[in-house]
Amino acid sequence: MVDWQIDLIKVIFIWVWALLIAVVMTWVERRASAMMQDRLGPNRAGPFGLLQPLADGIKLFTKEDIIPEKARKILFVLGPPLFALPAFSAYAVVPFGDKIVLGGKEIILQVSDVNIGFLYVLALGAIGVYGMVIGGWASNSKYSILGGLRATAQLISYEVPMGLALLTIVLLYGTFSLREMVLLQQGTFLGFLPNWGIFKQPLGFIIFLVAAYAEANRVPFDLPECESELVTGYHTEYGSMRLGLYLFGEYVNLGTLAAITVCLFFGGWSLPYVDMSKFLGPVSYGIASFMVFFLKQAFFLFLFVWVRWTVPRFRYDQLMGLGWKALIPLGLVNLFVTALLVQLTI
Protein backbone atom coordinates (compact mmCIF):
# COMPACT_ATOMS: atom_id res chain seq x y z
CA MET A 1 0.00 0.00 0.00
CA VAL A 2 1.12 3.51 -0.72
CA ASP A 3 1.56 6.00 2.09
CA TRP A 4 -1.43 8.14 1.24
CA GLN A 5 -3.68 5.10 1.21
CA ILE A 6 -2.52 4.16 4.69
CA ASP A 7 -3.15 7.72 5.85
CA LEU A 8 -6.61 7.68 4.33
CA ILE A 9 -7.45 4.41 6.06
CA LYS A 10 -6.23 5.82 9.37
CA VAL A 11 -8.31 8.98 8.93
CA ILE A 12 -11.43 6.99 8.08
CA PHE A 13 -10.79 4.60 10.95
CA ILE A 14 -10.41 7.36 13.50
CA TRP A 15 -13.48 9.17 12.12
CA VAL A 16 -15.61 6.05 12.41
CA TRP A 17 -14.16 5.30 15.82
CA ALA A 18 -15.00 8.79 17.11
CA LEU A 19 -18.52 8.50 15.72
CA LEU A 20 -18.99 5.05 17.17
CA ILE A 21 -17.88 6.16 20.62
CA ALA A 22 -20.32 9.07 20.49
CA VAL A 23 -23.16 6.79 19.41
CA VAL A 24 -22.48 4.18 22.05
CA MET A 25 -22.04 6.88 24.68
CA THR A 26 -25.62 8.09 24.22
CA TRP A 27 -26.74 4.57 25.04
CA VAL A 28 -24.30 4.19 27.96
CA GLU A 29 -25.40 7.51 29.39
CA ARG A 30 -29.06 6.55 29.43
CA ARG A 31 -28.56 3.00 30.65
CA ALA A 32 -26.03 3.96 33.32
CA SER A 33 -28.17 6.82 34.59
CA ALA A 34 -31.11 4.42 34.82
CA MET A 35 -28.95 1.91 36.69
CA MET A 36 -27.85 4.56 39.19
CA GLN A 37 -31.41 5.74 39.73
CA ASP A 38 -32.81 2.21 40.06
CA ARG A 39 -34.71 2.38 36.77
CA LEU A 40 -34.50 0.22 33.67
CA GLY A 41 -33.75 2.79 31.00
CA PRO A 42 -34.29 2.25 27.28
CA ASN A 43 -34.45 -1.53 26.76
CA ARG A 44 -36.97 -1.99 23.94
CA ALA A 45 -34.94 -1.46 20.76
CA GLY A 46 -32.68 -4.46 20.23
CA PRO A 47 -30.88 -6.49 22.91
CA PHE A 48 -30.38 -4.35 26.06
CA GLY A 49 -31.75 -1.43 24.05
CA LEU A 50 -28.54 -1.30 22.06
CA LEU A 51 -30.34 -0.10 18.96
CA GLN A 52 -31.70 2.90 20.84
CA PRO A 53 -29.04 5.30 19.42
CA LEU A 54 -30.09 4.22 15.92
CA ALA A 55 -33.71 4.93 16.73
CA ASP A 56 -32.71 8.31 18.15
CA GLY A 57 -30.78 9.07 14.99
CA ILE A 58 -33.71 8.22 12.74
CA LYS A 59 -35.96 10.35 14.90
CA LEU A 60 -33.62 13.35 14.75
CA PHE A 61 -33.16 13.04 10.99
CA THR A 62 -36.85 12.81 10.20
CA LYS A 63 -38.01 15.62 12.47
CA GLU A 64 -38.98 18.93 10.94
CA ASP A 65 -36.08 21.35 10.77
CA ILE A 66 -37.32 24.56 12.34
CA ILE A 67 -35.44 27.83 12.18
CA PRO A 68 -37.06 30.51 14.36
CA GLU A 69 -38.43 33.38 12.31
CA LYS A 70 -36.34 36.09 13.92
CA ALA A 71 -33.16 34.05 14.17
CA ARG A 72 -30.05 35.06 12.24
CA LYS A 73 -30.36 32.41 9.56
CA ILE A 74 -26.76 32.05 8.38
CA LEU A 75 -25.28 32.03 11.86
CA PHE A 76 -28.00 29.70 13.09
CA VAL A 77 -27.07 27.15 10.44
CA LEU A 78 -23.35 27.66 10.99
CA GLY A 79 -23.39 27.04 14.74
CA PRO A 80 -23.71 23.23 15.09
CA PRO A 81 -21.05 22.27 12.49
CA LEU A 82 -18.64 24.81 13.97
CA PHE A 83 -19.13 23.08 17.31
CA ALA A 84 -18.79 19.51 16.04
CA LEU A 85 -15.91 19.92 13.56
CA PRO A 86 -13.15 20.95 16.00
CA ALA A 87 -14.17 18.07 18.24
CA PHE A 88 -13.59 15.59 15.41
CA SER A 89 -10.38 17.24 14.23
CA ALA A 90 -8.76 16.91 17.64
CA TYR A 91 -8.60 13.14 17.19
CA ALA A 92 -5.97 13.56 14.46
CA VAL A 93 -3.07 13.71 16.91
CA VAL A 94 -4.27 11.10 19.40
CA PRO A 95 -1.98 8.04 19.39
CA PHE A 96 -4.52 5.23 19.63
CA GLY A 97 -1.99 2.40 19.67
CA ASP A 98 1.71 1.72 19.23
CA LYS A 99 2.44 0.34 15.78
CA ILE A 100 1.37 -2.48 13.58
CA VAL A 101 3.43 -4.30 10.94
CA LEU A 102 1.49 -5.17 7.80
CA GLY A 103 3.28 -6.65 4.79
CA GLY A 104 6.70 -5.74 6.16
CA LYS A 105 5.65 -2.13 6.59
CA GLU A 106 5.61 -0.48 9.99
CA ILE A 107 2.53 1.63 10.50
CA ILE A 108 2.25 4.02 13.43
CA LEU A 109 -1.24 3.98 14.92
CA GLN A 110 -1.74 7.71 14.88
CA VAL A 111 -2.96 9.91 12.06
CA SER A 112 -0.23 12.48 12.45
CA ASP A 113 2.61 12.62 14.95
CA VAL A 114 3.25 16.35 15.02
CA ASN A 115 5.71 17.74 17.52
CA ILE A 116 3.17 20.24 18.82
CA GLY A 117 0.46 17.60 19.11
CA PHE A 118 -1.03 18.51 22.35
CA LEU A 119 -1.07 22.24 21.85
CA TYR A 120 -3.17 21.44 18.80
CA VAL A 121 -5.71 19.65 20.98
CA LEU A 122 -5.83 22.61 23.35
CA ALA A 123 -6.31 25.07 20.51
CA LEU A 124 -9.16 23.08 18.99
CA GLY A 125 -10.82 22.73 22.38
CA ALA A 126 -10.92 26.49 22.61
CA ILE A 127 -12.25 26.93 19.06
CA GLY A 128 -15.24 24.71 19.85
CA VAL A 129 -16.76 27.39 22.06
CA TYR A 130 -17.54 29.56 19.02
CA GLY A 131 -20.13 27.01 17.95
CA MET A 132 -21.98 27.51 21.24
CA VAL A 133 -21.62 31.28 21.13
CA ILE A 134 -22.92 31.50 17.56
CA GLY A 135 -25.83 29.21 18.41
CA GLY A 136 -26.70 31.33 21.43
CA TRP A 137 -26.42 34.61 19.57
CA ALA A 138 -28.28 33.56 16.44
CA SER A 139 -31.26 31.95 18.19
CA ASN A 140 -32.89 35.23 19.20
CA SER A 141 -33.77 33.84 22.61
CA LYS A 142 -32.79 35.06 26.05
CA TYR A 143 -32.03 31.58 27.33
CA SER A 144 -29.75 30.91 24.39
CA ILE A 145 -27.80 34.12 24.72
CA LEU A 146 -27.29 33.55 28.45
CA GLY A 147 -26.07 30.06 27.68
CA GLY A 148 -23.61 31.36 25.12
CA LEU A 149 -22.41 34.05 27.49
CA ARG A 150 -21.79 31.50 30.21
CA ALA A 151 -19.93 29.24 27.80
CA THR A 152 -17.41 31.98 26.96
CA ALA A 153 -16.80 32.98 30.57
CA GLN A 154 -16.45 29.37 31.65
CA LEU A 155 -14.03 28.57 28.85
CA ILE A 156 -11.72 31.48 29.65
CA SER A 157 -11.74 30.64 33.36
CA TYR A 158 -10.92 26.97 32.94
CA GLU A 159 -8.50 27.31 30.05
CA VAL A 160 -5.98 28.82 32.48
CA PRO A 161 -5.83 26.02 35.11
CA MET A 162 -5.88 23.43 32.32
CA GLY A 163 -2.94 25.15 30.65
CA LEU A 164 -1.08 25.29 33.97
CA ALA A 165 -1.65 21.59 34.62
CA LEU A 166 -0.49 20.72 31.12
CA LEU A 167 2.61 22.90 31.47
CA THR A 168 3.75 20.76 34.39
CA ILE A 169 3.37 17.71 32.15
CA VAL A 170 5.51 19.36 29.47
CA LEU A 171 8.12 20.17 32.11
CA LEU A 172 8.09 16.56 33.22
CA TYR A 173 8.44 14.94 29.81
CA GLY A 174 10.21 17.69 27.90
CA THR A 175 8.16 17.24 24.75
CA PHE A 176 4.93 18.39 23.11
CA SER A 177 4.38 15.20 21.16
CA LEU A 178 1.68 12.95 22.63
CA ARG A 179 3.38 9.87 21.21
CA GLU A 180 6.70 10.63 22.87
CA MET A 181 4.87 11.30 26.14
CA VAL A 182 3.32 7.85 26.04
CA LEU A 183 6.67 6.24 25.23
CA LEU A 184 8.23 8.02 28.22
CA GLN A 185 5.65 6.47 30.56
CA GLN A 186 6.80 2.88 30.18
CA GLY A 187 8.62 1.05 32.98
CA THR A 188 8.17 1.61 36.69
CA PHE A 189 8.39 4.57 39.02
CA LEU A 190 9.95 4.25 42.52
CA GLY A 191 10.40 0.55 41.82
CA PHE A 192 6.81 -0.62 42.19
CA LEU A 193 4.37 1.91 40.67
CA PRO A 194 3.74 2.04 36.93
CA ASN A 195 5.66 4.94 35.42
CA TRP A 196 2.49 6.91 34.74
CA GLY A 197 1.94 10.64 34.78
CA ILE A 198 -0.65 10.41 37.55
CA PHE A 199 1.88 9.16 40.10
CA LYS A 200 4.30 11.94 39.24
CA GLN A 201 1.67 14.65 38.94
CA PRO A 202 -1.30 13.75 41.18
CA LEU A 203 -2.26 17.39 41.74
CA GLY A 204 -1.79 18.19 38.07
CA PHE A 205 -4.10 15.30 37.22
CA ILE A 206 -6.87 16.52 39.52
CA ILE A 207 -6.64 20.06 38.18
CA PHE A 208 -6.66 18.76 34.62
CA LEU A 209 -9.65 16.52 35.22
CA VAL A 210 -11.74 19.26 36.83
CA ALA A 211 -10.84 21.69 34.05
CA ALA A 212 -11.63 19.02 31.44
CA TYR A 213 -15.13 18.57 32.87
CA ALA A 214 -15.63 22.31 32.74
CA GLU A 215 -14.36 22.55 29.16
CA ALA A 216 -16.64 19.75 28.04
CA ASN A 217 -19.64 21.40 29.75
CA ARG A 218 -20.43 18.30 31.74
CA VAL A 219 -22.22 18.16 35.05
CA PRO A 220 -21.22 19.48 37.61
CA PHE A 221 -20.14 22.32 35.30
CA ASP A 222 -22.81 22.28 32.59
CA LEU A 223 -23.82 25.87 33.26
CA PRO A 224 -24.18 26.80 29.54
CA GLU A 225 -26.97 24.22 29.29
CA CYS A 226 -28.33 24.10 32.81
CA GLU A 227 -31.83 22.73 32.24
CA SER A 228 -33.26 23.99 35.51
CA GLU A 229 -32.59 27.66 34.72
CA LEU A 230 -32.03 28.05 30.99
CA VAL A 231 -34.17 25.27 29.47
CA THR A 232 -31.16 23.92 27.57
CA GLY A 233 -29.13 27.09 27.19
CA TYR A 234 -27.44 27.77 23.88
CA HIS A 235 -29.30 25.06 21.95
CA THR A 236 -32.79 25.80 23.28
CA GLU A 237 -34.10 26.85 19.85
CA TYR A 238 -32.47 24.01 17.94
CA GLY A 239 -34.26 20.91 16.80
CA SER A 240 -33.86 17.93 14.49
CA MET A 241 -30.35 17.05 13.34
CA ARG A 242 -28.92 20.47 14.16
CA LEU A 243 -29.57 19.69 17.81
CA GLY A 244 -28.22 16.22 17.10
CA LEU A 245 -24.92 17.72 15.93
CA TYR A 246 -24.58 19.71 19.16
CA LEU A 247 -25.23 16.63 21.30
CA PHE A 248 -22.97 14.53 19.12
CA GLY A 249 -20.16 17.06 19.22
CA GLU A 250 -20.34 16.99 23.00
CA TYR A 251 -19.82 13.22 23.12
CA VAL A 252 -16.99 13.39 20.59
CA ASN A 253 -15.43 16.03 22.83
CA LEU A 254 -15.70 13.66 25.78
CA GLY A 255 -13.97 10.97 23.74
CA THR A 256 -11.09 13.32 22.93
CA LEU A 257 -10.70 14.45 26.51
CA ALA A 258 -10.71 10.86 27.76
CA ALA A 259 -8.09 9.93 25.16
CA ILE A 260 -5.88 12.88 26.14
CA THR A 261 -6.22 11.99 29.82
CA VAL A 262 -5.09 8.45 29.06
CA CYS A 263 -2.14 9.66 26.98
CA LEU A 264 -0.92 12.21 29.52
CA PHE A 265 -1.54 10.48 32.83
CA PHE A 266 -2.19 6.78 32.29
CA GLY A 267 0.50 5.53 29.97
CA GLY A 268 -1.50 5.49 26.74
CA TRP A 269 -1.51 2.11 25.05
CA SER A 270 1.07 0.44 27.33
CA LEU A 271 0.21 -2.05 30.06
CA PRO A 272 1.90 -1.58 33.44
CA TYR A 273 4.68 -4.09 34.33
CA VAL A 274 4.19 -6.05 31.10
CA ASP A 275 5.87 -5.37 27.77
CA MET A 276 3.34 -6.75 25.29
CA SER A 277 5.62 -6.42 22.26
CA LYS A 278 7.86 -9.23 23.59
CA PHE A 279 5.41 -12.10 23.37
CA LEU A 280 2.91 -10.92 20.78
CA GLY A 281 3.29 -11.00 17.02
CA PRO A 282 3.64 -7.69 15.15
CA VAL A 283 0.01 -7.65 14.03
CA SER A 284 -1.57 -8.87 17.23
CA TYR A 285 0.59 -6.43 19.20
CA GLY A 286 -0.84 -3.54 17.21
CA ILE A 287 -4.38 -4.70 17.88
CA ALA A 288 -3.66 -5.42 21.55
CA SER A 289 -2.15 -1.97 22.09
CA PHE A 290 -5.25 -0.41 20.57
CA MET A 291 -7.48 -2.51 22.82
CA VAL A 292 -5.56 -1.47 25.92
CA PHE A 293 -5.84 2.16 24.90
CA PHE A 294 -9.53 1.77 24.22
CA LEU A 295 -10.22 0.11 27.58
CA LYS A 296 -8.49 2.93 29.43
CA GLN A 297 -10.39 5.49 27.38
CA ALA A 298 -13.66 3.66 28.03
CA PHE A 299 -13.06 3.91 31.77
CA PHE A 300 -12.70 7.69 31.58
CA LEU A 301 -15.75 7.93 29.36
CA PHE A 302 -17.69 6.02 31.96
CA LEU A 303 -16.29 8.30 34.66
CA PHE A 304 -17.87 11.25 32.82
CA VAL A 305 -21.26 9.50 33.06
CA TRP A 306 -20.66 8.36 36.62
CA VAL A 307 -19.88 11.88 37.81
CA ARG A 308 -22.80 13.35 35.89
CA TRP A 309 -25.37 11.26 37.72
CA THR A 310 -23.72 11.56 41.13
CA VAL A 311 -22.64 15.16 41.66
CA PRO A 312 -25.12 18.07 41.66
CA ARG A 313 -24.56 21.14 39.53
CA PHE A 314 -22.49 24.06 40.79
CA ARG A 315 -23.94 27.56 41.08
CA TYR A 316 -22.40 30.01 38.62
CA ASP A 317 -20.50 32.06 41.21
CA GLN A 318 -19.22 28.83 42.78
CA LEU A 319 -17.98 27.73 39.38
CA MET A 320 -16.08 30.98 38.87
CA GLY A 321 -14.81 30.91 42.46
CA LEU A 322 -13.51 27.38 42.06
CA GLY A 323 -11.75 28.28 38.83
CA TRP A 324 -10.08 31.51 39.85
CA LYS A 325 -9.62 31.11 43.61
CA ALA A 326 -8.81 27.42 43.94
CA LEU A 327 -7.62 25.85 40.69
CA ILE A 328 -5.42 28.66 39.37
CA PRO A 329 -3.45 29.21 42.62
CA LEU A 330 -3.11 25.43 43.01
CA GLY A 331 -1.95 25.15 39.42
CA LEU A 332 0.63 27.91 39.91
CA VAL A 333 2.00 26.28 43.07
CA ASN A 334 2.10 22.91 41.34
CA LEU A 335 3.94 24.40 38.38
CA PHE A 336 6.47 26.11 40.63
CA VAL A 337 7.16 22.98 42.70
CA THR A 338 7.43 20.80 39.61
CA ALA A 339 9.83 23.24 37.94
CA LEU A 340 11.97 23.23 41.08
CA LEU A 341 11.97 19.42 41.32
CA VAL A 342 12.77 18.98 37.65
CA GLN A 343 15.60 21.48 37.96
CA LEU A 344 17.00 19.76 41.05
CA THR A 345 16.86 16.23 39.67
CA ILE A 346 18.43 16.94 36.29
Binding site: L75, I116, A126, I127, V133, T152, L155
Partner: protein, 165 residues
Protein backbone atom coordinates in the same frame (compact mmCIF):
# COMPACT_ATOMS: atom_id res chain seq x y z
CA UNK B 1 3.25 32.80 -6.30
CA UNK B 2 1.80 29.61 -4.95
CA UNK B 3 -1.89 28.91 -4.74
CA UNK B 4 -1.84 28.07 -1.01
CA UNK B 5 -0.53 31.52 -0.13
CA UNK B 6 -2.95 33.30 -2.44
CA UNK B 7 -6.00 31.47 -1.09
CA UNK B 8 -5.24 32.22 2.55
CA UNK B 9 -3.97 35.74 1.89
CA UNK B 10 -7.22 36.61 0.13
CA UNK B 11 -9.15 34.95 2.96
CA UNK B 12 -7.27 36.99 5.57
CA UNK B 13 -7.66 40.32 3.78
CA UNK B 14 -11.30 39.66 2.92
CA UNK B 15 -12.18 38.65 6.46
CA UNK B 16 -10.27 41.68 7.75
CA UNK B 17 -12.32 44.00 5.56
CA UNK B 18 -15.49 42.27 6.73
CA UNK B 19 -14.42 42.73 10.35
CA UNK B 20 -14.15 46.49 10.07
CA UNK B 21 -17.22 47.00 7.91
CA UNK B 22 -19.74 44.63 9.56
CA UNK B 23 -22.46 46.43 11.49
CA UNK B 24 -23.24 43.44 13.70
CA UNK B 25 -20.91 42.89 16.62
CA UNK B 26 -20.67 39.11 16.67
CA UNK B 27 -20.23 38.53 12.91
CA UNK B 28 -17.50 41.14 13.07
CA UNK B 29 -15.74 39.13 15.80
CA UNK B 30 -16.15 35.99 13.69
CA UNK B 31 -14.50 37.83 10.82
CA UNK B 32 -11.54 38.44 13.11
CA UNK B 33 -11.54 34.73 13.96
CA UNK B 34 -11.28 33.94 10.25
CA UNK B 35 -8.35 36.35 9.97
CA UNK B 36 -6.55 34.55 12.79
CA UNK B 37 -7.13 31.14 11.27
CA UNK B 38 -6.00 32.28 7.81
CA UNK B 39 -2.87 33.80 9.36
CA UNK B 40 -2.11 30.59 11.23
CA UNK B 41 -2.44 28.66 7.95
CA UNK B 42 0.11 31.06 6.45
CA UNK B 43 2.47 30.47 9.39
CA UNK B 44 2.17 26.74 8.78
CA UNK B 45 3.16 27.40 5.19
CA UNK B 46 6.26 29.21 6.45
CA UNK B 47 7.33 26.12 8.44
CA UNK B 48 6.45 27.69 11.78
CA UNK B 49 3.89 25.27 13.31
CA UNK B 50 4.44 26.50 16.85
CA UNK B 51 3.64 30.11 15.92
CA UNK B 52 0.64 28.87 13.96
CA UNK B 53 -0.75 26.95 16.90
CA UNK B 54 -0.15 29.88 19.26
CA UNK B 55 -1.97 32.12 16.84
CA UNK B 56 -5.00 29.86 17.16
CA UNK B 57 -4.82 28.92 20.83
CA UNK B 58 -3.93 32.35 22.23
CA UNK B 59 -5.51 34.85 19.84
CA UNK B 60 -8.51 32.86 18.67
CA UNK B 61 -8.87 30.66 21.74
CA UNK B 62 -8.34 33.15 24.55
CA UNK B 63 -8.24 36.80 23.51
CA UNK B 64 -11.06 36.67 21.00
CA UNK B 65 -13.18 34.59 23.39
CA UNK B 66 -12.77 37.44 25.87
CA UNK B 67 -13.89 39.92 23.21
CA UNK B 68 -16.88 37.72 22.39
CA UNK B 69 -17.70 37.52 26.09
CA UNK B 70 -17.86 41.31 26.29
CA UNK B 71 -19.99 41.43 23.15
CA UNK B 72 -22.41 38.87 24.55
CA UNK B 73 -22.55 40.68 27.88
CA UNK B 74 -23.11 44.22 26.61
CA UNK B 75 -24.67 44.05 23.15
CA UNK B 76 -27.89 42.31 22.20
CA UNK B 77 -28.32 40.90 18.68
CA UNK B 78 -30.76 43.65 17.73
CA UNK B 79 -28.32 46.48 18.29
CA UNK B 80 -26.15 47.73 15.50
CA UNK B 81 -22.74 49.22 15.93
CA UNK B 82 -22.59 52.92 15.33
CA UNK B 83 -19.76 55.32 15.67
CA UNK B 84 -20.14 57.20 18.89
CA UNK B 85 -18.10 60.05 17.50
CA UNK B 86 -19.46 61.77 14.45
CA UNK B 87 -16.61 64.22 14.91
CA UNK B 88 -15.06 65.37 11.65
CA UNK B 89 -11.58 65.95 13.06
CA UNK B 90 -11.42 62.34 14.32
CA UNK B 91 -12.31 61.06 10.90
CA UNK B 92 -9.67 63.21 9.21
CA UNK B 93 -7.12 62.03 11.77
CA UNK B 94 -8.12 58.43 11.12
CA UNK B 95 -7.82 58.86 7.36
CA UNK B 96 -4.42 60.48 7.79
CA UNK B 97 -3.14 57.69 10.05
CA UNK B 98 -4.50 55.07 7.64
CA UNK B 99 -2.71 56.67 4.71
CA UNK B 100 0.47 56.85 6.80
CA UNK B 101 0.20 53.13 7.62
CA UNK B 102 -0.31 52.20 3.98
CA UNK B 103 2.72 54.31 3.04
CA UNK B 104 4.81 52.54 5.68
CA UNK B 105 3.72 49.14 4.39
CA UNK B 106 4.47 50.20 0.82
CA UNK B 107 8.00 51.22 1.82
CA UNK B 108 8.34 47.91 3.63
CA UNK B 109 7.38 45.87 0.59
CA UNK B 110 10.15 47.48 -1.47
CA UNK B 111 12.71 45.36 0.33
CA UNK B 112 10.71 42.14 0.04
CA UNK B 113 12.02 41.36 -3.45
CA UNK B 114 15.50 40.78 -2.05
CA UNK B 115 14.12 38.43 0.61
CA UNK B 116 12.10 36.17 -1.65
CA UNK B 117 14.35 33.35 -2.72
CA UNK B 118 14.68 29.70 -1.93
CA UNK B 119 16.58 29.16 1.26
CA UNK B 120 17.54 25.96 3.05
CA UNK B 121 16.24 26.05 6.59
CA UNK B 122 18.54 25.31 9.54
CA UNK B 123 18.08 21.97 11.25
CA UNK B 124 15.07 21.82 13.57
CA UNK B 125 13.62 25.10 12.28
CA UNK B 126 10.27 25.87 13.92
CA UNK B 127 10.73 23.12 16.49
CA UNK B 128 9.53 24.17 19.98
CA UNK B 129 12.91 23.40 21.55
CA UNK B 130 14.73 25.52 19.01
CA UNK B 131 12.42 28.49 19.57
CA UNK B 132 12.84 28.11 23.32
CA UNK B 133 16.61 28.15 23.15
CA UNK B 134 16.52 31.18 20.85
CA UNK B 135 14.35 32.99 23.37
CA UNK B 136 16.57 32.25 26.33
CA UNK B 137 19.93 32.68 24.62
CA UNK B 138 19.98 35.10 21.73
CA UNK B 139 16.86 37.15 22.36
CA UNK B 140 16.70 37.11 26.16
CA UNK B 141 16.53 40.90 26.42
CA UNK B 142 13.62 41.17 23.98
CA UNK B 143 11.84 38.38 25.79
CA UNK B 144 12.25 40.04 29.17
CA UNK B 145 11.20 43.45 27.85
CA UNK B 146 8.01 41.88 26.51
CA UNK B 147 7.30 40.19 29.84
CA UNK B 148 7.88 43.46 31.75
CA UNK B 149 5.43 45.13 29.37
CA UNK B 150 2.85 42.47 30.17
CA UNK B 151 3.50 42.88 33.88
CA UNK B 152 2.87 46.62 33.59
CA UNK B 153 -0.42 45.90 31.83
CA UNK B 154 -1.33 43.44 34.59
CA UNK B 155 -0.61 45.94 37.36
CA UNK B 156 -2.59 48.60 35.53
CA UNK B 157 -5.55 46.25 35.13
CA UNK B 158 -5.54 45.41 38.83
CA UNK B 159 -5.30 49.12 39.69
CA UNK B 160 -8.27 49.91 37.48
CA UNK B 161 -10.35 47.05 38.83
CA UNK B 162 -9.60 47.67 42.51
CA UNK B 163 -9.76 51.33 43.48
CA UNK B 164 -8.90 50.81 47.15
CA UNK B 165 -5.71 48.80 47.21
Amino acid sequence: MDLYFIVFAIMAVGAGLFTITAKDALPSALGLLTVFIALSALYLHLHAPLIAIFQVSIYAGAILVLVVFVIMLLITPDEELETSQKNMSYRILGAFLGAYLIALLAIGTKGVKDLIHQQTLPDGFGHPGMIGSLFFKEYLLHFEVASVLLLVALVAAIYLAKKNI
